[in-house]
């Protein structure tokens, strides 16, 4: 029942929010949401306590036959791969709810959707049945689409449509692969049993894996399937961006590991060299595209494209260390990108712009956003892989685990890691250093140098979640054993199993 509670709390919470009697104020709605999400976080922590890190396989399993005719079972389980992601989901959804402000339009629906997404994501991470996973994977789309298209920016219709089309294709490909599996093997066994050549010929395996790769590749996203992401981020509000980058992209990488690597180990081994190159291209492309951006949020979005590429590299290499690196990278990217989007969101709220050609000197202690700026420096340094923070150990594990397998792709990815510093320093030095200004320079430089800027203060509601994320980023960077302790056994087993069969 413990795992089911991770579904029940958010789903019942959604229902409660939708059916709450009367017309509660947005603030009240927010409070109720926070209570629900705190409960969910506590339940997730309880799962962590009950979880035995020494054991490799699925734990705390629950199984109920649901629709045997189509092979859909209610099968839940948690292992070292999914547990950290469940925790990240609980934490970041809570952050999203806390930083939500000024929801003047339909707060009831907004918060209900937020909680619904969290529940669906939990379901996807915990599902042990392919169809059950797919149901939850699809369930998260519509609320997210609503969150972008109703509460988004000026160009929200375009971005939301694009998001919808891309993810719908992603969903269809994944479903197609699952169905194809049933069709080709002639059974409706949708459990997580690896598909080996005694069940399915290599040709069939590769086709199915290919469909999954493209399907999950859209979600991650990998170049060239990434086009929906920058638009979705720029149009989404800050809490939604936090959720999207921090949690939802992980569904793609999680799917890749769980249903690509684990389900089709043989085909995976065949495709791995190509995947490693794909990863390197994704990393370099994301970093280079980020350098050329002048919108802070687009820059962070492209940096996500680059950083998620490391996970593919690690998955392709498929060694115990690289898979551990993949989990680390998912968690640290979740924390760091959430922090980055949160901080960019603060800047946007206070100044009304995210344009790097316009923003300067925000570190100004009295009139600027000094605390936001200081945390931004921490965040970009973490993202650039500076030691002492979560990004470094993650990247180190990924590279260390992959270099023997794919030296060229790994070295190219490291170049991408170096480029991260380039664009993020451009961001920090342009927006936060210099004399405070938030307007484009006019043709009267003397007057420009005399402009007084009035920015509202940043409220604790925004800074406290950011500080918590900073603490997480630094904590994970200094004490990485806290995470690897949870995941090590499962991932080692996973890599060994995959290597054993290939």
């Amino acid at each position: 029942m413990l795992l089911s509670s991770l579904l029940l709390i958010p789903f019942l919470g959604t229902a409660a929010l939708l059916l709450w009697p009367g017309k509660p104020a947005p603030g009240q709605m927010r409070l109720i949401t926070i209570v629900i999400l705190v409960l969910q976080l506590l339940a997730s922590l309880l799962v962590t306590l009950r979880f035995d890190p020494a054991q490799a396989g699925m734990q705390l399993q629950e199984f109920h036959v649901w629709l045997p005719g189509i092979g859909l079972d209610y099968a839940l389980g948690v292992d070292g791969l999914s547990l950290p992601l469940v925790l990240i989901n609980a934490a970041l959804t809570l952050v999203s709810a806390v930083i939500t402000r000024d929801i003047d339009k339909r707060p009831r629906i907004y918060f209900a959707m937020l909680v619904l997404i969290s529940g669906a994501v939990n379901g996807a991470f915990l599902a042990e049945n392919l169809l059950l996973f797919f149901l939850f994977y699809e369930l998260e789309l519509i609320p997210l689409w609503l969150l972008i298209s109703v509460w988004g920016g000026a160009n929200k219709a375009y971005a939301a449509t694009k998001f919808l089309i891309f993810t719908a294709i992603s969903g269809m490909l994944i479903l197609g692969a699952f169905l194809g599996l049933a069709l080709l093997t002639g059974s409706v066994d949708f459990s997580l049993t690896p598909v080996l050549s005694d069940r399915l010929a290599m040709g069939g395996q590769i086709v199915l894996l290919g469909a999954l790769l493209v399907g999950f590749g859209i979600k991650i996203p990998l170049v060239p399937l990434h086009n929906w992401l920058p638009d979705a981020h720029t149009q989404a509000s800050t809490p939604v961006s936090v959720l999207l980058a921090g949690v939802l992209l992980k569904l793609g990488t999680y799917g890749l590991l769980r249903f690509g690597l684990q389900l089709f180990p043989e085909a995976w081994a065949k495709l791995a060299p190509g995947l490693a190159i794909w990863a390197a291209i994704s990393v370099l492309y994301g970093s280079l595209a980020a350098i050329a951006q002048t919108d802070m949020k687009r820059m962070v979005a492209f940096s996500s494209v680059g950083h998620m590429g490391y996970v593919l590299l690690a998955a392709a290499a498929n060694t115990p260390v690289s898979l551990l690196g993949a989990v680390f990278q998912m968690v640290s990217h979740g924390l760091i990108s959430a922090l980055l989007f949160l901080l960019v969101g603060i800047v946007y709220r206070k100044t009304g712009t995210r344009d790097l050609k316009v923003l300067h000197g925000l570190l100004n202690p009295e009139k600027g956003l000094p605390l936001t700026g200081s945390m931004m420096i921490v965040a970009v340094m973490a993202s650039a892989g500076l030691p002492g923070m979560a990004g470094f150990i993650s990247e180190f594990l990924v590279f260390r685990g992959s270099i023997a397998q794919f030296p060229v792709a790994t070295l190219l990815s490291m170049v991408g890691s170096g480029l991260t510093a380039v664009y993020f320093l451009l961001l920090v030095n342009r927006a936060f250093f210099g004399r405070l200004s938030i307007t484009p320079s006019s043709d009267d430089p003397r007057n420009d140098a005399r402009l007084d800027v009035q920015l509202a203060v940043v409220s604790p509601r925004e800074t406290i979640p950011a500080m918590a994320l900073v603490a997480g980023v630094v904590g994970l960077g200094l004490l990485p054993m806290s995470l690897s302790r949870l995941s090590d056994a499962s991932l080692t087993a996973m890599a060994l199993q995959a290597m054993g069969v290939s």
Partner: protein, 380 residues
């Protein structure tokens, strides 16, 4: 939803030299006369007066009691070595006397006016030699250093002389500003013109005050700036002070690069525009902005009405020291205004054309320099 950035950016018109000349000649104040300005200027000058009181006492103490002390460990304690005072000092719960020294350094370094000329005179050199000879007999370190570095002690005495002179100058200014606050409190001063007049009167009254400085070494009294040098308050100290601190100033490490190849700093100190009337208040309290120390000191002595007034504006307590800086700049324009009025060659009411021309030339010369300053704070 985010606000449009144009609303967040405030800009006010800067004045041209002709306008400033006109205002000076017509007897109009540079700072526009509004009730808010009166509150700001009088309030900030009151806290400034309290801070200057402390600065002045300390500079005079340093000049007299810490004279040529190689390790002036307790120079900011004014001779009070009680544990409570030392603790407050360690906890930095104190006035930032470093800023007073900074102003002194600016005066010494720019070296204009009568005091500086006297420091280069033969009479000063002789006084110094007497003092050094006396001091050398008692202090073995100095006895050793002086023959090796004959320029060292005399430069230190120049330093001490400037310190003491600035202390005397600020004594007068502190009393004047506190009197101004009292005058405003009992209703004698109600407008900016009245404020400027009050300060002008104070300056004129003190103009002829003598400036002199002597030290005691082993019970013996020595003159450093003797009365016979004839140094006076207004021309020998106040004017160089205005030149060094209000107008020229020194480049801030936090906003100007000292890199020689970049050539951001003029080789001619006369062309410096880093002083109080020119400085940008926006980076106040940032890194490398020395006047932040003064703003902090004034913040700790802010009169309650002005504090309340600040709390109601922009970020309230969050950017209070930046707002103090803006008010301070306004009040410094008032003080400059008073000084110009007080030193005008002829009365403004004169009808003689040659006197009017002289006044006009004088006002224009000032206006030309002021026009480069932050005249946008004057509210016109």
């Amino acid at each position: 939803m985010p606000v449009i950035s144009a609303d967040l950016v405030v800009s006010q018109r800067s004045l041209e030299a002709e306008e400033l000349t006109g205002q000076l000649l017509s007897g109009e104040t540079l700072l526009s006369d509004t009730p808010d300005h009166v509150l700001e200027v009088v309030g900030v000058l009151e806290s400034y007066g309290e801070v200057l009181d402390a600065y002045s006492k300390n500079l005079i103490y340093q000049g007299e009691q810490q004279f040529l002390n190689p390790f002036p460990l307790f120079k900011y304690l004014d001779g009070d070595l009680s544990p409570a005072k030392i603790w407050r000092h360690l906890n930095h719960d104190r006035i930032n006397f470093e800023y007073a020294e900074y102003c002194m350094k600016a005066m010494l370094w720019h070296g204009t006016g009568g005091l500086d000329a006297y420091l280069d005179s033969e009479a000063f050199r002789e006084n110094c030699n007497t003092i050094i000879n006396c001091k050398r007999r008692r202090d073995p370190l100095l006895a050793l250093l002086h023959p090796l570095f004959p320029g060292f002690l005399i430069e230190q005495i120049r330093n001490a002389a400037t310190t003491h002179a600035l202390g005397q100058f600020w004594r007068v200014m502190s009393d004047l500003f506190l009197d101004l606050a009292a005058a405003e409190a009992d209703g004698r001063v109600r407008s900016i013109p009245a404020v400027v007049d009050f300060i002008k009167q104070g300056l004129v009254d003190a103009a002829g005050n003598p400036i002199h400085y002597g030290v005691e070494i082993a019970g013996q009294h020595f003159w450093v700036l003797p009365p016979e040098a004839g140094l006076t308050f207004l021309v020998d100290v106040a004017v160089p002070y205005v030149e060094a601190v209000f107008l020229r100033g020194m480049p801030f490490l936090g906003t100007v690069s000292f890199n020689a190849q970049a050539q951001q700093i003029s080789p001619d100190q006369g062309r410096f525009t880093y002083g109080a009337l020119y400085a940008d208040p926006l980076p106040t309290m940032g890194a490398g902005i020395p006047p932040s120390l003064l703003m902090q000191d004034m913040y700790r002595h802010l009169p309650e009405p002005l504090h309340q007034w600040y709390l109601e504006r922009t970020r309230g307590e969050g950017d209070v020291r930046e707002k103090i800086c803006r008010s301070f700049q306004k009040s410094m324009f008032c003080v400059t205004n008073a000084a110009i009025n007080g030193t005008m060659p002829h009365p403004l009411s004169t009808t003689k054309p040659e006197e009017q021309a002289a006044n006009r030339a004088y006002a224009a010369a000032w206006a030309e320099r002021l026009a480069l300053g932050r005249t946008d704070c004057l509210g016109r």
